[in-house]
Amino acid sequence: MIGTPSRPTRAVTGWLLVLPATVVLAAFTHLPIVTTLIASLHSRATAIRPARFVGLDNYRSLAADPVFWKVMGNTVAFAFGTVPVSIALALAMALWVNRRIAGRGLLRLAFFLPTMLPMIAAANLWLFFYTPDIGLLDQCLGLAGLSGHNWLGDPSTALPCLMAVTIWKESGFFMIFYLAALQGLSAELREAAMLEGAGPVAYFRRVLFPLLMPTTLFVSINAVLNAFKMVDPLFILTKGGPSNASNLLLYYIYENAFSFNDGATAATLTVVLLGLLAVLAISQFVLLDRRVHYR
């Protein structure tokens, strides 16, 4: 038997154990945050002029940038348009495939399939739906006698098109969480509710939905954060266009950093995004926690 190590020795062992994780976390998360923050307070570096400290100038010019506000508005609209719908769909699908129906396994797989595809592949798939005239969507419209439409090229439909892809892809993923939660609920609760005279609607409203609240909290936080971090389908489908009609925050950061070569603005945008994500996550926990009943 090994004797109990002295207190300092144990502390050293502890630190050594967390060291690898700490190093990785610091190198790839904490340090970049700090350097980004610093970069956002400096001017854009060019070949002839190195960056210099400019205080909050970058933030001021961002506030005056109409494209930034356009992108911000798009991002918020994107979140509002995708999160409630994909959560509602996820819950509906979970309720459906949780029942004893023929082909339940296949149905579950079908709903989950979009989640397993990489977003890039999914976007390519949808590109084929949206392509003017020869795309699936226009072909179907053609059958109905309607004329084709340039779905991704029209500023009024570009963003909704992105939303559709995202909803299609995310709701299957969120369904899994609801399905797991549903399977953790005792069947006797439903039976007791039925015996007490609750129909399916009353059962859902008074028992099922409140009991799924922890899942809803978890899923909605993830959904909102994902919405604000959404970028992949833009590369394939719209590239943020036409004229920024479908541009989102993360894609705009990418454009600034790598297309416009404006590291300072990109860093400033990144800090704004990080701040937004932090505020969103915290406020959701606080807001929803009051309505969540953990067992």
Binding site: S186, E188, E191, A192, L195, E196, G197, A198, R206, H293
Partner: protein, 372 residues
Amino acid sequence: MTEVRLDALCKSFGKTAVVKDLSVTVRQGEFLVLLGPSGCGKSTTLRMIAGLEDADSGRILIDGRDVTGLPPSRRGLAMVFQSYALFPHLTVAENIVFGLRVRRMDRVERDRRLHEVAAMVGLEAHLTRRPAELSGGQRQRVALARAIAARHPLCLMDEPLSNLDARLRHDMRVEIRALQRRLGMTVIYVTHDQIEAMSMADRVVLMRDGRIEQQGTPEDIYARPETDFVARFIGTPPMNLIRLADGPRGAVIAGDDAGLPVLAGPGDGLTLGLRPEQVRLAEALPETGPAGGPATDAGPVRSRSARVVAVDYHGPDTVVSAGIGGQILQVRAAGHVPARMGQEVRLSWSANAVHLFGADGRRRSPSALHPV
């Protein structure tokens, strides 16, 4: 009037028949206990009455109304689940009035009912708590209160006390029974615990493998078990069942071939039943003939010598296990019995304490009992 009739109910899960041609009538205001070993189909039967499980065939009538195809909510009954099935996100009060609320009873009447039933089960002090903040016994009371709040004349209970400790179980037995009498409810109560059945039931239906083995009052079932299965199931400790064999002068205890006969006639395949409390224990005396013991009003006393193999002291009584010819008999004697392991003792019983079961396990008619 709330009378329940089960008419030739059958239920299979896949290929396994779980309830087989079950017919029972439960009378108005009766406390009927469905008793049987685990897996014999009690819960399935109860769930069919509740409408939570569809019967494959047969009918269920409540007050003469065929409810076989009706959903649970339209059968006019309440149920207490083994797990209590309380809604974890609702307070005690909300749990109790859940059914009244979804049935849109007005608020004033609902509150009146809530306080009435909460008082009945002693929960007034805990109405704002959630189930997770209650003890097992209190949860049990909430489940009970929810079941009686709607004032359904029929209440089904599935092992409602099995999650409680022994002490609480005893108290709740008394309380449930008192509540049932007070409200005049018809109760169908499922348990695998024969003590619960014996102490609570007006009538016991003892099930085995999806069929009724015997039904009757607790006294009936105790005094006249129709099969050796019933004999073994009822009583603590259960009835001694002793295999008999043919002997030169009558039936003898198998393994004790040299011993004196216990019954006239052949013994092969027969089983002798003796309740532990009906066997008397005495210090060993020289073996006497069949008529050796003192005659009493109850008939001649049989007696046998046996060797003590275990002594189990309970306080008010002692259960002594003694072997005769390789078979063990349990004897229940009042008070403390200073028996030692390996000690030679004398067991005696009167002829009318004897139960006899045939090779098929069925009770032999008393006329088959010929004392030697």
